[in-house]
Symmetry: D2
Subunit: 146 residues, 4 copies
């Protein structure tokens, strides 16, 4: 099974809200999302869920690219996002930096900035690394004990 | 300005990923999202960003409905989501319960379950309550100090 | 090696700040800490670190009691504590409730209340379950990859 | 009232577990705790609550020193600590760096390292800044709505 092809052909949620991945490595990943009405909340600001989704995507992709060749998958364990300053227009810029590479968990810090370079949000992502066992992780995943 | 009309006419991110709000009060809010390809990540599971977005939306709407009549707005301060069990199909069910109603922050717990009623994710949302000062909160919000 | 004896004979940090464990099971654990000057911060309130420590201890002990007989250890992966209302005197009461029992991680919610029963803090604890491999987990622990 | 004297004369929880503050500014604070049995958990590792307490103390002191002269107090709103690698002996080193200085909340990142300079834990602290109103914050604090 060619997991990299699977990732490249993917047309799901990240395409829906408009994520563009600019650079991707196992130590840092950079992406952005243009602001349009479809990513706003009722008051006209970028929805916090978009910020959380960007962080989730960058940290997951950075981990997956490194662990897929070893037969492992990457699944988000926790997403802690703090919102510091709202973004109303322009582009949402994101830089994910790996802080820890453990055997079973990776930890990433994600900085969200606006077009003026101001820090607007911070996310800490914990990504679980688990054996794929013949296929991508599914609803009967290794951590689904009860 | 009629804030409730503003909220009702809103066609933004929550419509994009398909949030349906079923009940809304200032102590609990219930919603759901049907699973389709547009809310999945590359491995076919519901994207963690969708889970985080649902939690953000329910807690924000529950707070906003209560504080708008007093001239205050509601803005997410932090979104802490733990992923316990992936969801691959069916419907994402969400129940937000208020845990704290402070003068300047509200705290909500959100439980995410699948069609079988199994607990799949937990979010803790902190929502800031801030004076609207003649309009909805914007990029020059009260907390944007530096 | 008798791990339960090890735990019973333990005189470390939890004794230093005065934790009393009242009930301990693998689904809930109850404890308390009497307030005295040694658990206060400079303004006379109970130190946030004491609240975090109580949550860490209850969730770890509840997990450890269940997984030690299977040859596994329990180690805190993350501690997310939200402070809602300060405690200045009396007793800090804590109730930890298990929310998820996975193969590799357990998740607990901890409620902190004061003598009047008011909710003062909420913690979400993620505890890693790892094979002990002949001894308690140490600095060369399973997750210390790099 | 001389708040700086109050802070200097303080003999509470931070003294109990042995916190030494080495540098203190409103952009970074550095501290350390020597490892001894009284800061260990049952398996002989430094207790997660000690790590959380150090982060809470450094972020609170850094904020307080800056806002006390303006008549404001500093109170922890949330403490999110991720544990990456256990510490068993030597000294716990901590560096808190301010990431956001808002009108009502400050956000700090704290890095915990061991004697070998390895990253062992990461904390994200949110500190509330509130008017003191004639005295230090107490159990009838500004955010204690219900």
């Amino acid at each position: 099974m060619d997991h990299e092809a699977l990732l490249r052909s993917y047309k799901g949620f990240d395409a829906l809200y408009g994520l563009q991945i600019l650079d991707c490595g196992d130590e840092s990943v950079r992406g952005r999302v243009p602001v349009r009405d479809e990513v706003r909340q009722p008051f006209g600001l970028v929805h916090g869920g978009v910020i959380a989704a960007i962080s989730e995507a960058l940290a997951s992709v950075g981990t997956a690219m490194a662990v897929l060749p070893e037969g492992n998958g990457a699944l988000g364990l926790s997403n802690q996002t703090s919102f510091l300053r709202p973004i109303a227009e322009g582009t949402v810029h994101a830089l994910a930096t790996r802080r820890h590479r453990g055997r079973t968990t990776w930890v990433w810090d994600v900085e969200i900035t606006d077009d003026a370079g101001r820090l607007c949000a911070l996310s800490r992502m914990t990504i679980a690394v688990r054996p794929l066992r013949g296929g991508p992780p599914d609803a009967a995943s290794p951590d689904s004990g009860s």
